[in-house]
Symmetry: C2
Subunit: 422 residues, 2 copies
């Protein structure tokens, strides 16, 4: 723990300080031809473990360069959140000369290099066949909206897999979309996993490959994995249950001065809740009347409304300062609903008291609280949070070191607007 805090303290305020340790993936090089959430978040995960991740964008930025939230100067907080620790290169890959440069970067030699993560269609400069002609052991992971390449984003995949019609209060007419692009994030993380698996395979066999990953398939597989598909096949219709936790007891409650979520998924959490709110007699009576066994999670779900009424009666007039410590002491599983503002302003978990975070000086923005990777590696070290690059910041350096261009050639490319940034 101590070394992380030292590393964090050392880096706080100075984005240019080298990390204390090179990170567990030091030496690996990945090129990212990407935009939005899925591919960039996967690439950033690798960068946050010490891989060199080179993101190639068009001069002026890609499709996501102005994605909200933005500052008053239209600088994207989304972009700088999802591209921390990467090298940024701007090349006009809409023209042949630019494409040649991009391909050279992707296929540049190096034992731990020749890895490409993209959510663009694998055509032209991203054609696996063409890239393999330059580097036969290339590992390429292409994220698609749908298998076969159809047009889809997180916000269209979610409706198609049934989740919005299961979300929200029963009184709502119609679907409730999610705010968090969960499918994008999961796909990005799975892409990182896939790249590491393929790299391991290459290390053992010398063989690269093209891996495909469809956002829609990630959603469909998840629905299968959680049991939704088998349940529907067996004729059971899942219904909207508002804020109740499906299949066990859990719900939101108003207490005097706050709103809390209380969960009794396991038996231990249930007995803790009953103890904390002195529910035992009432629960015994409810069991008698209903014939249910509330020590079983499924029966707790069946009796959720009656249990919720009992809980409500015991919390509605009590303050959080009374309930919270009691819950914690007795092992109740609960949390308080916070707005993002309350989280950021008042929760120690969202501050530099949490080794996940440091204060960084983000070019284009100023001081922000930035996270590193949640994975806390004891050996190989967890790198401290870093900033996102300025757009095109590393164009020259990458062209020099990976493509072998000299100053005159680079100047000429810039003069002809084939490269940008830097």
């Amino acid at each position: 723990m101590g070394s992380q805090i030292d590393a964090v303290a050392a880096c706080a305020g100075d984005a240019a300080v080298l990390p204390m340790t090179p990170g567990i993936l030091a030496g690996m090089r990945v090129v990212e031809a990407s935009a939005f959430v899925a591919a960039p978040s996967g690439g950033m995960t690798l960068a946050q473990m010490g891989a060199e991740v080179i993101r190639i964008d068009m001069p002026g930025g890609g499709l996501d360069y102005r994605r909200w939230p933005v500052t008053g100067d239209e600088y994207s907080l989304f972009w700088c959140g999802l591209n921390k620790g990467k090298r940024s290169v701007c090349i006009d890959f809409s023209i042949p000369e630019g494409r040649e440069l991009a391909m050279a970067i992707i296929t540049a030699p190096g034992e731990d290099a020749g890895m490409l993560l993209t959510n663009y269609a694998p055509r032209g400069w991203l054609s696996h066949e063409m890239l393999c002609a330059k580097r036969p052991d290339l590992i390429q992971l292409t994220i698609q909206g749908k298998r076969g390449g159809g047009n889809a984003v997180d916000y269209t995949v979610n409706p198609s897999v049934g989740i919005p019609l299961l979300t929200g209060p029963q009184a709502v007419d119609g679907p409730v979309n999610h705010v968090l692009p969960a499918w994008d994030l999961l796909t990005g993380q799975m892409a990182a996993t896939g790249l590491l698996a393929a790299e391991r395979h290459r290390r053992r066999t010398g063989e690269g490959q093209h891996i495909k990953l469809a956002l829609e398939d990630v959603a469909l597989a998840t629905l299968g994995n959680l049991g939704f598909i088998a349940e529907a096949q067996r004729g059971h219709v899942r219904e909207r249950v508002g804020n109740y936790l499906y299949g066990a007891f859990g719900c939101d409650f108003k207490c005097k001065d706050a709103r809390v979520m209380i969960v009794a998924l396991t038996h231990k959490q249930w007995t803790a809740l009953c103890a904390a709110l002195e529910l035992s007699e009432a629960i015994a009576e409810l069991e008698r009347v209903s014939g249910l066994d509330l020590s079983l999670e499924g029966d707790r779900f069946r009796a959720r409304e009656q249990i919720a009424a009992l809980v409500h009666a015991r919390v509605v007039d009590r303050s959080l300062s009374e309930l919270g410590p009691r819950f914690d002491r007795l092992g109740v599983c609960w949390s308080r609903y916070q707005t993002v503002a309350e989280l950021v302003e008042g929760d120690p978990a969202c501050s530099v008291a949490n080794p996940l975070f440091a204060s960084t000086d983000q070019p284009g923005v100023g001081r922000i609280l930035a996270p590193t990777i949640p994975l806390d590696f004891a050996a190989g070290g967890r790198l401290p949070p870093v900033t996102a690059p300025r757009l095109g910041e590393h164009t020259d350096a990458v062209l020099r070191t990976l493509v072998g261009l000299g100053d005159a050639a680079i100047e000429d490319l810039r003069a002809r607007a084939i490269i940008g940034g830097g």
Copy 2:
């Protein structure tokens, strides 16, 4: 593609058929001491890539063994969805003799073995120090609710990071919980990534390690990565926007016989939508009146209600059979809201027409449509979908092969109820 379909066809209906290829992680062995979503989904990802994943449970099953959805016989569709392809071992690890056996399994030799994934507290038989005494290069990944080990689940983490108060219609009083345990799923996937990264490190250095991963940190880091934290630090209050896509144009719409989601995140998607619904004149007028430039995503968000009114007027009286093909032809980014039942009954993406899926014969359940991993590896092969084990099915085999016990010893353990299943 052909070999996948062959593999799928060969396996459909017969869970015991060996896969056509061993999978990209063939040879790796991971032991899972786990329950619920995060650790099991991470372990299953590795199993679906060919790793041998041995899940250890108490005899009779762990905390999640009856988690809903369940069949009429209380067999959990959740459990069989999240534990496909694993070996199941039942050992009473509440007693010393059982713990010794479990530790022996975890630390059993093998170059690609000695890997542990758990969401139990790293104490006793899961103490990293004690396990390393038996196998110094052990890689252990411990998933925690909160860093430091506090009591938290997906459904309590989500309220604390602000998402439920941003979800759902503005008219709703209070928070809207998510149905999908997004934090659990993301944490599980990140655990798989972390294990592979650590295994790579060990291959290069001989060094194992203990990695910690807190569910709460995954959520907090994500809020940071998407820009929510920096935005709040700068004093901007994010508000609930119902089903609108934040920062661009996107919304749900009723047409005559269906509800659809339409997204214009990129300029290309926007021009496609304007063409498909013949909006150009109305949009030009809206731009004139508002002073906004609707070719910019941020301005589309600002004018979302006016744009939505225009779109609504053009779709509300048209059927999906008219709109859908037009949208597809012109490249509109859209989807239809489906229930899970509609997805399962009618969508080819959720059928064996999609190589992601096969029909498997799940012990305890019967025929179900089961997915394999969404990652489609060209080399190393994508394994077909498989079934989940029966509880404790592999206890004897694992004790024989990894711990070297003979039949008499195994019989004795079973007679004394130290092991179960099989």
